[in-house]
């Protein structure tokens, strides 16, 4: 259909077969990388529903800039996995227009930093159409790609957009952490009738997580708008999403050794935010630390603080601690970059402060 070159496929297929071999090995061991989780979720959904297609830069022949779409071109052909020119505004809008007619596009941004070139279509075309048309035109589209701080790529390629998209009505914003999240939330996003911004994390793609048989089932799907308590505790609540969940869990381990029992909430969905789970936890622990990579002002943590102050003010035993990225564009130098992004020890110290322990 698109006249995409088929000649190179044969030479590339040997390499691909080797890659596939390693993938099937990893899933046999009941561990799965986030990359494979995303890939398998896409694959299963595409095989179940022919209206689903993947578009974006390098998603086809190159197998995805981060190999999330690996093997899909071979399986579904260039009509359903197609490479676009480097035109974010153009192809994001094309995806929206296709969704107007009930197709289900999955639009990959090579990174969400490039989604800034297409933000008009995400906010103004996708998120608002159902409302402006009074429910006549729904937009079942997924915008996905890596988001957040990467490593050593400087200010323009290293930023978290969760709070930005999270402030826009009409969008659903998902932030997976583990392989279970990645599979369950991506399937939920694709099946959802509304526009979903799906924020992955480049540094998590290669990480492996244990997965249960239930997670590996092709019917597995998580609920949008529901947070997960990753670790139960009674002294302090730590909310986090995406890569920060890993940091929060590490912090909780350190805190446990010092006699502080931390409850870690993996938000999973930024919008709609699961205020109920957060508030119920805070009412139990009476202390709150929020962790995110994004900027502090008007951030996800700020929203959680507001929610807890509104709904659970009298349960708080200590001021809320907000851990966020430094309020500066991301520096390039390794030492400065480390300072600009929240670290495990930042969360540990904040949790101790809320428990009035010396840090």
């Amino acid at each position: 259909m698109w006249g995409i070159v088929r000649r190179r496929v044969s030479s590339a297929s040997t390499l691909q077969r080797m890659l596939y071999a390693s993938r099937s090995f990893s899933s046999a061991a009941k561990e799965m990388t986030v990359r494979d989780a995303l890939n398998s979720a896409l694959d299963e959904e595409m095989s179940a529903d022919p209206t689903i297609f993947v578009m974006g830069e390098e998603v086809g022949e190159y197998q995805g800039a981060y190999k999330i779409t690996k093997g899909l071109l071979e399986k579904y052909g260039p009509q359903r996995v197609f490479d676009t020119p480097i035109t974010e505004a153009g192809f994001a809008g094309i995806g929206v227009g296709a969704a107007y007619h009930s197709l289900r596009p999955v639009v990959e941004f090579m990174t969400f930093n490039f989604s800034m070139q297409a933000i008009d279509h995400i906010i103004n075309s996708a998120a608002k159409s159902n409302y402006m048309s009074a429910g006549q035109v729904s937009v079942p589209i997924v915008f996905r790609g890596p988001n957040g701080a990467a490593a050593g790529v400087g200010a323009q390629h290293s930023q978290c957009y969760a709070a930005w998209f999270g402030s826009c009505p009409g969008l659903k914003v998902l932030c997976p952490y583990s392989s279970e999240d990645a599979r369950g939330l991506l399937k939920a996003a694709i099946r959802d009738p509304d526009p979903v911004v799906f924020l992955e994390n480049e540094l998590l793609y290669g990480e492996s997580f244990p997965v249960s048989a239930e997670v590996l089932d092709s019917d597995f799907c998580l609920q949008i708008g529901k947070a997960k308590i990753e670790r139960e505790g009674k002294d302090v609540t730590i909310t986090a999403f995406s890569k920060m969940v890993g940091h929060a869990l590490k912090a909780a381990e350190i805190l446990a050794k010092e006699g502080i029992s931390a409850e870690v909430i993996n938000l999973r969905t930024i919008r709609p935010l699961d205020r109920a789970t957060i508030n119920a936890s805070v009412r139990k622990t009476n202390r709150l630390v929020t962790a995110e990579e994004g900027f502090p002002q008007n951030g996800v943590g700020a929203e959680i603080c507001a929610s807890v102050v509104e709904e659970s003010f009298k349960y708080l035993d200590a001021p809320v601690e907000r851990i966020a990225g430094a309020d500066v564009p991301m520096p390039y130098a390794t030492n400065l970059e480390r300072l600009a992004v929240p670290q495990v020890e930042d969360i540990v110290c904040a949790a101790k402060r809320t428990c009035f322990r010396s840090v």
Binding site: M1, G93, H101, L103, D120, S133, V137
Partner: protein, 431 residues
């Protein structure tokens, strides 16, 4: 004014014109080489046929410079229509004009608000194109979208009510002047930002192709029209989508309503090469210039472009040179346009021209056309009455339709979806 812009004869520019220049060797000839190893063949339109049409339409040229040169162009009379077709066109143009005139009145009476952009003067474009479409074909418009919606068949009552912000509007009062949607009529929205509608229209065209080729819906030959103005043609999304539409041979027609002015910015002052239609061949699609003040000429070009898209031969860029008789919006004092220019185009009113042509060619009598005008007047009066008597949206409507999925509002404190809570609509908003 010494500009030579627009003085050349402009007509269909077949692809072959780009590829067969003898004096100027093209950098890349798609017929001889494969592009980046692609086996895709550019399909060249039948140049003989197109050239023939171009001869017929040689006089279809009107230009900005004509204002200065006072060059009178005689319209060709070989554009055949039946009486019924002529009456449909006339009625649709009268509807567009009368509707917009009424909008101006209602705006000044405070019945509608915000930005209201009127279409007066450009009716030949909307009518010439949209009246050729099937119901399943889609139209994507701009902020100047009332008349496109009307031409596509959205009832005047619904459009007027939408402008009044009433619950009987085509978007229940949630869209407004610049955001007309009708799922039933495949009006996929007015888009309020420059260039924003073009990718969406390209995506709608993409979905037709996807349905036919991937979902095997063999009868899906739906075409999408993207309407936009001359100002948009300097926006990147225009170029991005010309490229992709041609690359993937999408069933779309890019209709430029070149009314020569982007608010107060003259097209000639904003664009390095003001002949927009020339940008089509640069992307491998035909570019056509047509007199947008002549509905019959627009219709003839539109017919070929729409059929070409329907046949699966890909997109066409059509530049309709037209003029808006009012300011950019009702809030625009319109002080920058030369009165002589306005007078020139006012004298070329597309409705008067069609009327004259139909009477001269004995397709219709004066009383027949008068009867149509009367019928439309009544229809507009009825639309205003209907809108005025319609209820305002209920308070509870504020929170409706944010998502297609009512569960989109998330989970309430009791663990149930917020929307299931009877107190849901109370929220934090004052409703």
């Amino acid at each position: 004014m010494a500009t030579t812009a627009f003085t050349a004869t402009k007509s269909i520019q077949p692809l072959s014109a780009v590829n067969t220049r003898s004096h100027d060797q093209p950098l890349f000839d798609p017929r001889k080489t494969t592009f980046l190893g692609s086996t895709r063949k550019l399909r060249l339109p039948d140049s003989a046929k197109l050239n023939q049409t171009s001869l017929q339409r040689r006089s279809a040229v009107v230009a900005v410079s004509d204002v200065v040169q006072e060059k009178k162009l005689k319209s060709t009379s070989n554009l055949l229509i039946t009486k019924e077709e002529g009456l449909v066109l006339y009625e649709d143009m009268i509807l567009g004009r009368a509707f917009e005139d009424m909008c101006a009145q209602m705006y000044y009476r405070g019945k509608m608000f915000g930005f209201v952009h009127l279409y007066n003067g450009q009716e030949a474009v909307s009518t010439g194109f949209i009246k050729l479409l099937k119901k399943e074909d889609s139209v994507v418009s701009t902020y100047r979208d009332h008349v496109h919606a009307l031409s596509k068949g959205v009832p005047a009552r619904q459009v007027m009510s939408e402008l009044f912000g009433r619950t009987t509007g085509c978007c229940r009062g949630q869209g407004g002047s610049m955001h007309m949607f009708s799922k039933e009529h495949n009006v996929l929205g007015g888009f309020a930002f420059i260039g924003e509608g073009i990718p969406v229209a390209t995506g709608a065209a993409f979905s037709s192709k996807y349905r036919r080729e991937v979902l095997k819906e063999a009868d899906c030959d739906h075409v999408t029209l993207a309407f936009f103005g001359d100002g948009t043609c300097n926006n990147g999304q225009f170029f991005e989508c010309l490229n992709m539409a041609a690359l993937w041979k999408l069933p779309i027609v890019f209709v430029v309503e070149n009314n020569l002015w982007a608010i107060g910015m003259s097209h000639l002052r904003a664009t390095s090469d003001p002949q927009i239609y020339k940008k089509g061949p640069a992307f491998g699609m035909p570019g056509i210039h047509v007199d947008g003040m002549d509905v019959l000429k627009v219709r003839e070009v539109a017919k070929e472009a729409v059929e070409r898209a329907r046949r699966g031969e890909g997109p066409t860029l059509v530049e309709c040179e037209t003029y808006r008789f009012r300011g950019h919006s009702l809030a625009d004092p319109d002080e920058l346009r030369d009165p002589a220019e306005k007078a020139h185009y006012a004298a070329r009113d597309p409705i008067t021209a069609l009327k004259r042509s139909m009477i001269e060619s004995k397709l219709a009598s004066e009383p027949e056309l008068k009867a149509i005008e009367k019928k439309i007047d009544e229809l507009i009066e009825d639309a205003v009455e209907f809108a005025d008597e319609s209820p305002y949206p209920a308070r509870s409507q504020l929170l409706e339709n944010v998502f297609a999925d009512p569960k989109g509002f998330g989970i309430g404190p009791d663990g149930r979806y917020r929307c299931e809570d009877p107190k849901f609509t109370e929220g934090t908003a004052h409703v």
